[in-house]
Symmetry: C2
Subunit: 237 residues, 2 copies
Amino acid sequence: MKKPIQFETGCAHCNVRMHSVFNVLEGEQLNEMTMHKSCSTYKKGQYVFAENGLPTGLFCVNSGKIKITTTGFDGKEQILRLAKSGDIVGYRALISNERYASSAVTLEDASICIIDKAYFFKALESTPKLMFEVVKKMSRDLKEAEDHIVSLSQKNVRERMAEALLFLKATYGFEADQKTINVSLTREEIADYVGTSTESCIRLLSEFNQDKMIALNGKKISIINLPMLIQTANIED
Amino acid sequence: MKKPIQFETGCAHCNVRMHSVFNVLEGEQLNEMTMHKSCSTYKKGQYVFAENGLPTGLFCVNSGKIKITTTGFDGKEQILRLAKSGDIVGYRALISNERYASSAVTLEDASICIIDKAYFFKALESTPKLMFEVVKKMSRDLKEAEDHIVSLSQKNVRERMAEALLFLKATYGFEADQKTINVSLTREEIADYVGTSTESCIRLLSEFNQDKMIALNGKKISIINLPMLIQTANIED
DNA sequence: AATAAAACATGATAAAAATCATGTTTCTTC
DNA sequence: GAAGAAACATGATTTTTATCATGTTTTATT
């Protein structure tokens, strides 16, 4: 595990702050936070934190994409969540004073700040608005998890696969061409989110491709027929 | 939908308060809360709140058991969570100022208090400890949801069924005989938690019964061989 | 207590999805 | 740029699970 490279900038000038939970901080609070954070760059595939580790601070993604995974029963990986710039990562274990129940791994080169635990707790207490932002983030994550439970319980693999592509699109958006999903995942990683075997995942993507619903180019997936994809996902009503 | 019957008691004398998020309140705060809550009794099967409704307050279960469900795609019910005395219910939608994404239905006669929304928000702001208790509750619910996701993704129906029985035992405990799970659910409800068909649920319970792992008596399920049940659930080591 | 409805049960069948096997392509790394 | 590894792909087979069908038991209602 290579050591991430560090660099520093003031939080006041952070270009993603306004899209993060820290948008509610002002003036002197930002200078104070700058003094209690440090920023590092990570290469693709590096661990930001690992299952069973002890949190020492809160991670805030400056740039890059992250997968949050947990290890299942025969060591099989489950992707629980994806993060992008502006997202905080590892907040649950930190706040509830537990070891990490999941790992965070970069999906591409990334720069991520870590905010000192003691300072973060102090900021939470002194700034109810910040606490409220964190609560809203947790609330969204809980809602997303519950939606995922319903899908896994009630939809078949084909529907879940279509839904996963829509989820990736919603999370990371399109590239400049307005159709290619702006993230590269292996088929195995997609399967680990959808809850299926790698083979079934590959097969379904091929089928979607043959049906001209999507186009495949290596790891890049383009959505050609969005209405059809939505219909395949069997989204409510 | 029958109207629940109301009755009142002071929160200071509430017998479940110390097992709830309100254990951190003291003295005058309790009198104030008493003035901003009202308590009602519900018959088995009544709705406490319903999907798409607007929250008007926070529910706190005094006695009785509650299922939190959401409606899936062809109207199929999904049980997301179960609540018991001391649990708060409906907090997520309330806090994030949304309509309910799920419904709460009593599994038996219950008495449930509703704490006025405006007062609750005021209490949250003025009492960081209370906010922190709510955050911890949400954190536990999120963890539970993520564990459920891993099960649904990676375990087969038999393993999930065994796990569900262990979950019911962990949630509601045993009756006086120290083996009968202290809750009555229909096979369909269990299936709606496990994410399987009612028939598969019935079949697996029959099998577990034949294997002398459990005993069945109507809706009552007794755990006869706990180690075997744990092994069947394929719980992590 | 009679009747209806809901819940439980079980066999037979069909559909869905995992697994196994094997081959090809695409990345990494020396 | 060659060798090896990882990722992708696809057919065949087996396993798992849902669905359909039908009957019984339990619970609720008049």
